[in-house]
Structures are given as C-alpha cells and as structure tokens.
Symmetry: C2
Subunit: 421 residues, 2 copies
C-alpha cells in the first residue's frame, strides 16, 4: 500500500528535528495543502486491511472543518475530556492557541521542539515517544464543553442556542468521573503511539490551565467511511452500515450553518459516550436473539428483511410468523432515519477494553463518538433507544460528554479564536 503517489506526503519527525520547531509557531509552517485529504480517500483508505497509510498527513489549517470528523476513520483513538482550572478568557485563549499550534506540528509528524535539546539542563518540551514516527494520519479534534459558556469566561452570549449539557436519558448509568468536561480532545491515528503521544503532550501543555477528567483509548479494525468495509463492534456485529457517507448528508446533518453563532459556521457538535458491554450475557445468548436485538444477520450484516448488508431495511415486511421480520424494538428499527423523521447523525466509534471485569472476564465496550449539527438529534435517538432498545439488556452508557466543535482555523489563527472576537 505504499504507492509512490504518496511520496510527496511524507514527513518524518526525524527529518524536521533540525528545525527546532516548537512553542507558538502558529501558522508559520502552514498545512501540507489540500492534497492529503484527496490522497487518503484513494487507495490507502479503500484497502485498510492491506496497509497502514503511516505517511498520510492531514492539514490542520485552512480547511472548512477540523480533521477527525469527515476524514476517514483511523484505526486508533484516544478521547480525553478536561476540566478547566482557570477562569479568565485570556488563559483559555492561550491554551487553545498553544494546543492548535502543537496539533499542527503533530499532524505533520513533527515533534514539539527538539526531542533531545542541546543544553543538558533543558527540560524537553516533547516527550519523545513519537520521534522518528510518520504522521500516521493523525487528527486531533478540539471540542468546547458547556462550561466554556458559563459565567467564568464572559462567553455566555456566544453560546449557540441549541448547546448545553445533555439531559438525563433513559436507562443510562453515568459515572461522575466519566462524564462531562469543559474541553475535549479526540486524537485518532493509524498508530496508537502517535495518538498517545499527541494526547500526552497536549495534556502536559495544559498543566496549570486544565486537568484530565476522563479518557478512553479505543481501537478499531477499519473505517466505516466512504468506500471502506464496515468494522465490527465487540458484540461481533457490523457497526456503521447505515452511517452518513455523502456530502449531502454531511451538509444536512453535521455541519453547523453559523446562523445563530457565526463562529460555529463549519463546525459541529460532538457527543461522546462510553458504553460498557455486558459480554457474558451477550456471549451466552442464542444467535437468533442476538440477530433480533440488532435487527441484522451477524455474518453478512443484512437487515433481517433482506439478504445483503446494504439492502434497505423493510420495516413493513412480515416473517413467517406474521411478526415484523425486523422487530420493532431492534436497534436498527429504533435508530433508522425512516422511523425518526429522516434524522441522521455521523458516528465515529471505536472499541475499547479496560482489562477484566468483576466476573473475571475480559472487559469490552464501545467508545461511541457522534457528530451532528444539533445535539437534540442524539437526545431524540437515545431517548427512544434508552426506552425500548433490546440492546439495553446488554449495555450500559457509563460515560458522557457533549462539546461544540469549532471549524478549522486559518493559518495564523487557532481553534475557537472567532469565539473571542
């Protein structure tokens, strides 16, 4: 998969070390241009099982949207939510500006300054574990929690009308230490060490301004994006068959039009949920029940009304017993846009494991991350799912956060700058 067409996108951390890049070099180096996006939609993205496009670099500046939303889903993710410990707008601006500058470097495969400073008594600004590694398709997406618009920062009049903490939702069992946050970072890459490095250095840069509130490290097999095969969740079912895949749907359901708040134009909202699976119960269930829970076949992923994965579900079709072929309380029936006034959200989820659970079995779950231009879309869908979904017997939402995601910054700017204008 290392086609020669990608060679112009290569940036190694090693090659740039001599430049001594670091600090607040906002925009000084710009992005890598618009070609990386187009490139990654090509051969690399179409055949993820054959190779990790480790030299893919996504530009950070001068794009309509931040990366990590409609860019092809990478194999690894670390999601982190932060509590702000400062309460003046200037400190928040500085943090967002420093984070933006650092992310721009990381997405090009660079370190934040020299891994090995020449002065013996210097403390390295970069922790070094990604030295020599390629960009690995890294994207880091910055989100702003509801707390940014409370009375601390004087930004209450900049709060979008539709934005605020999520209401309590049916059947959720949220844990305080896995819920909320004033800021979020979603780092995704083809290499877990690259994603870890980004979150670690960014967390370190936040010292004195913000502390980590909760994190989830996720993994996946391949993307559910355009032209890619559908990955499976840890229940063994394909997840993302009906995900948003067209620019028209992105325009309708994901991108904010900026009507009520101009600084959000081209942005979106991010909902993150840590979903624990009760895998012992699931693993001991009959295949027929498992398929009725999802409303799909397990191997092919076809709706129970059809034969192939991408067949449109026919919710009216009856089985031999006279009951709907796709049970009305199956996951696919409850979540389908046909049954929700056309509503869609963009999902970008990862699997996770936290070691063992109390029963001495290997833990499993889903880091659910979704993007939408109105958080009410998630509330609508999850209210319905939380009330009736057959899947609720086997899962619990234990973590939750909602964040406003500004558009990508122009060179020389930073994520969220327009918010302070």
């Amino acid at each position: 998969m290392s086609g020669s067409s990608h060679d112009d996108g290569r940036f190694s951390r090693r090659a740039f070390l001599g430049a001594g890049i670091g600090g607040l070099a906002v925009g000084a180096l710009g992005g890598v241009g618009g070609t990386a996006w187009a490139r990654s939609e090509g051969a690399d993205a179409a055949a993820p099982s054959d190779g990790v496009p480790s030299h893919t670099a996504y530009p950070f500046y001068d794009r309509a949207h931040q990366g990590g939303i409609d860019t092809p889903q990478q194999r690894h993710a670390i999601f982190a939510a932060y509590d702000l410990t400062v309460s003046d707008p200037r400190s928040l601006q500085v943090l967002l500006a420093r984070w933006s500058a650092a992310i721009a470097q990381f997405q090009r495969g660079r370190s934040l300054g020299a891994v090995e400073p020449t002065r013996s008594s210097a403390v390295p600004t970069d922790t070094g574990e990604a030295a020599d590694l390629e960009p690995a398709g890294l994207t880091v997406t910055i989100g702003l929690g509801p707390g940014v618009f409370d009375d601390r920062f004087g930004l209450a009049d900049r709060k979008p009308a539709k934005f605020g903490p999520l209401p309590a939702l049916p059947s959720e069992r949220l844990e305080e230490n896995l819920t909320g946050g004033d800021l979020s970072l979603q780092a995704c890459a083809e290499d877990p060490q690259v994603a870890y490095h980004a979150i670690r250095v960014l967390s370190r840069m936040a010292q004195g301004s913000a502390t980590v509130r909760w994190t989830v490290m996720g993994f996946g097999r391949a993307s559910a994006g355009k032209g890619q095969s559908t990955p499976r969740n840890l229940m063994g079912f394909k997840d993302g068959t009906r995900n948003i895949k067209s620019d028209a749907d992105l325009a309708s359901f994901v991108w904010h039009d900026g009507a009520d708040q101009a600084w959000m134009k081209g942005g979106t909202y991010q909902v993150a949920r840590k979903i624990q699976m009760h895998i012992e119960n699931w693993d001991s269930d009959f295949i027929g029940d498992q398929q009725a829970v999802f409303g799909r076949s397990k191997q092919e992923g076809a709706p129970l009304s059809g034969a192939h994965e991408f067949d449109a579900p026919d919710f009216a079709k009856k089985g031999a017993d006279g009951e709907p072929a796709i049970p009305a309380t199956s996951h696919v029936a409850l979540a389908a846009h046909e049954n929700n006034g056309g509503l869609k959200i963009l999902r970008r989820s990862y699997n996770f494991t936290d070691g063992m659970n109390a029963d001495g079995q290997i833990n499993a779950g889903l880091l659910f991350i979704a993007y939408m231009n109105d958080p009410a879309a998630f509330v609508t869908l999850q209210t319905k799912l939380g009330q009736s979904d057959r899947l609720n017997e086997y899962i619990a939402h234990v973590g939750s956060g909602v964040f406003a995601v500004p558009p990508a910054p122009a060179s020389g700017s930073y994520v969220g700058e327009a918010l302070f204008g």
Copy 2:
C-alpha cells in the same frame, strides 16, 4: 506492502466459514507450512512503518518453538494470566488441548466455528468480532505457572529444577491482583481486534476451568527484532537496541535444552512484569539527567560513550569531568551483558496506558515480557537493577508473573501434552 509474493499466504475468516470448523479439530488442518515465517522475515518485517502484514499467518503446529517468542514482534499484545479453578490433571489437559486447537484456528485467521450458526437457538462458539479479518500475524503463546506443579495436578515431579515463583526483588511494589497466575496467554498481532478476539474467546473457553487473574493490553510501534528499527518506550527512549538478535544467542540464552525435563526441550521461561512509569517526574527532568539514567542519548539512542545507536558501550571511557561517560548506575551499565558475566535475556515488551492517574495526567507504562532458559537470569539482572538503577526513581514494578513455556506441539497434539505422558 501488499506484494504479490504474499498472496499464497492469504487466509480470510470469511473464506473458511463454510467449512464449519470448530471444537477439537487438533491437527486436522495442520499449519500453513514453514513459509510464513520466512515471509515475515522479509519485506513486511523490514519496513513495518509502511504496512501491516495483515495476511501473515504463523503456523502453530510442527515448529520447534511456540510463536510469539522469536517471531518478529507484532504491534499489539494482550497478556493475560489465569487462575485454575480445577484441580485434576484431566481438566487441565482438556483446557490446554482446547486452547491449542482454537489458537491453531485463530493463527490461520479462522473463527472458532460459524460466526452465525444456522440454528436460531444455537449459542455461537465464536464471539465474531474478528470475522472477515485476516490472520494479522497472530501468535498466542501458552505458559504454565508454578501452580501447575503444586500438589493439585500430580505434576510435582515434572517441575524443572530451576522453575518456581520469583523471589521478592528490590524496590518492586507488586500488587496482589496483578501478580501470579497458574497459566498465561500472550496474544500478539498486527491488529488489536485480532489479539483481543483471541484472548476473549480463549477466556470464554476457560469458563469452569480457569478465571482471568490479570491482563495488560499493550501497543508498540515496530519491532526490535531482526532487521527492524528500534521502538521507543513511553519515556521517549529506544528500547531493545541490545536485545538478542542472533540464533546463537537464542540457543545460548533462551531455548531450554530439556536436560532435566524432556518435555521442556525447545521451550523457555517467560517473565512478565507490569511496570508503571511516574511520567510527571520523568517529563519534568532535564534531558541531561534523562540521558544519564539510561546511559544513552535520547534522539539517536547511542551509548553516552559513543555516537551511534549500535556502538558497543565503552564502560571504561571517561568524560571531561573524569567520571565514566556512561554512569555506573545507568540502566544500560547495570543491565549490560559485559557487566553480568555475559548474561542476556530476550525482551519482547509493549507500551501500555491505563487512562489517567491520580494526578490527572495520562498514565503510562511498560508491559515487560522476557524469555530465558533460566528464570535466575531475570532475578540476577533485576536484583541489580532494583538496588541501583537510576531509573527506579521513575518506575515501579507493580505486576509480575513467571511461566514455563513448552515447545510447540506436533500436529495432533497440544501445548504441554508431553508433561502428562
């Protein structure tokens, strides 16, 4: 990296589903032959940054040694230690036989029986999340803890003279729930979902016979094996520069000669340690101190007596201040075979993160796994390191296990069968 030379090694789970493979099909399908090993030592292994050799399949049967020891280090690992809940030799035999048969399937990229059984009331034997995935270079290595040779199984006279629980070692801070185990499984693959799937299904197969005691999920960038670039640990330093890389060293230091116990001929011992890093302390340290701790430069990884990573350390060389260029209490000086009567062990470590620590920073650590033909080698080295290593200020060994690793089984047999003969 998807060269056509590899096409003969392709095995997809999908392609074999129709065969309805499952249960105790020991040896019925054999291995894929000796070519996978040779293949993986070629282009795929030499350029890991350019592609994941997801179609690489390692044979399980009819090899001198189990996989996951001298096979090239994969990107992902899950290590799991188990407590046996049965106390009769027959139950242990059955578990080892069932595990062996399942691992042989997984290493060929197959599921354990149909992902979607045809009978609606069937409970699937396979959890399904690796359906459609290629073998991804999976190796699962089975180890036997000291408990296998206690009075439960009548195997006390089969215990190798050198084998037993590790003694207490200086400066370790072992946690009970991260230490010990009667059995171990080390699953390594280029795809985390493939490694997870193997451990999950094998853990499920153990129900009624063994429970999970502790697990660590590790990740790495690339291998420290033959011809591969040296990966970095989460302290930002290269780890594995002086690792065992020759067959002669493997013969001298790793493979058991079977002299006292014939069933161990071609086997080895596995030491697993979960090592927590105190990354706040480390990250705030001067680069000069960091380099003195390891005895190496950070960017190049050269010994402080030399200029290049693979320069032999010169422990006699003095710096401008008249002190040794490589401090005597540096990690490299204490661990070097030159300073330990020629002693070497084979290391096969991974990085891990467990989310946040109590200081609100991203956690970091090392899943240290080493192989040797006498556990005393680790005890000797770690006693010295635990007493004097400058690194001790920044790390703590919190988990530990030691396991006897039998050789690979012949077709029709299973790991450890000779132990019961």
